[in-house]
């Protein structure tokens, strides 16, 4: 009768889904490339939450290694992406994604 409410894997996964959706919405709505990168980071964090939720579900710490590896990849992605942003800004003078329409013809 007690414990009408217990946080468990379901709640963690739903939380990850919410964060992922917010990141995806930001990716569509925003135009500033730097903010777009932040939204990608949010989505990567949602993936990490999912992995850690299953790590907790199965009681296996080895999953957490995967989550650390994802963090490394996210760091590389952010560094390279921001270097690209700087290069784009140097040549085009803008960081707005809708003004980078060179391929539009």
């Amino acid at each position: 009768m007690m414990a009408p409410f217990a946080i468990d894997t379901y709640n963690y996964l739903a939380f990850a889904a919410v964060i992922f959706s917010i990141g995806l919405i930001g990716l569509i709505v925003r135009k500033n490339i730097i903010v777009l990168f932040m939204c990608v980071e949010l989505m990567l964090n949602a993936a990490n939450i999912t992995i850690l939720a299953y790590s907790r579900q199965f009681g296996d710490s080895a999953f957490q290694a995967a989550s650390l590896y994802i963090m490394v990849i996210a760091a590389c992605e952010a560094a390279l992406g921001l270097a690209l942003v700087i290069a784009i800004f140097r040549y085009r003078g803008t960081v707005m994604a809708d003004r980078l329409n060179l391929l539009k013809g």
Partner: protein
């Protein structure tokens, strides 16, 4: 246990709100600040889940290093162009509806497959999520991926230097 549950709810709400602020705020610096708050509260969620080492790395690497990198880049770029977020183009509304539908269906599928809120997790042992356990996994079973990642970091470093150097300085 109930304290953990309440803390999870608090930090989940904080991180969802700050994530929404990342999307909603117009100034990129404000976005970065709320991103830092969001990453901190996600780290708190990691702690609550028992992944202490990953939470610590989250604070050090994400909130510490990556967001400082973001702020530096924002600082380097002049604030020349103002972003206008148009509200109600039909494509955007369709997108938002689709994403919301995706979110709802994911949560519903989770509820069906995991038996809804309150599904049982495996017992968490004393050593779950400690640096020792995670380090054993990283340096024994997954050592190859670890070494590959160090190569990846090296390549990323070289790429960043090449990309951000001016034409004459390469």
């Amino acid at each position: 246990m109930i304290i953990k549950d309440v803390l999870f709810l608090i930090f989940a709400v904080i991180s969802a709100v700050t994530a929404a602020l990342v999307v909603a705020l117009k100034n990129p610096v404000s976005s970065a600040m709320s991103m830092i708050a969001c990453l901190f509260s996600i780290a708190m969620v990691y702690f609550i889940m028992g992944a202490h080492f990953v939470g610590t790395v989250q604070i050090l690497v994400y909130a510490g290093a990556i967001m400082v990198l973001f702020l530096f880049v924002i600082m380097l770029l002049e604030k020349r162009d103002v972003e206008e977020i148009e509200k109600a183009s039909p494509a955007r509304i369709i997108n938002l509806v689709l994403i919301t539908a995706m979110l709802i269906s994911v949560i519903a599928a989770l509820a069906v497959s995991l038996g809804g809120p309150g599904a049982q997790a495996a017992g968490i042992t004393e050593t779950f999520g400690t640096i020792r356990e995670v380090g054993m996994a990283v340096f024994t079973k997954y050592i190859f991926a670890f070494e590959l990642l160090s190569v990846l970091i090296l390549v990323a470093m070289a790429g960043v230097v090449t990309l951000s150097a001016k034409d004459g300085e390469r």
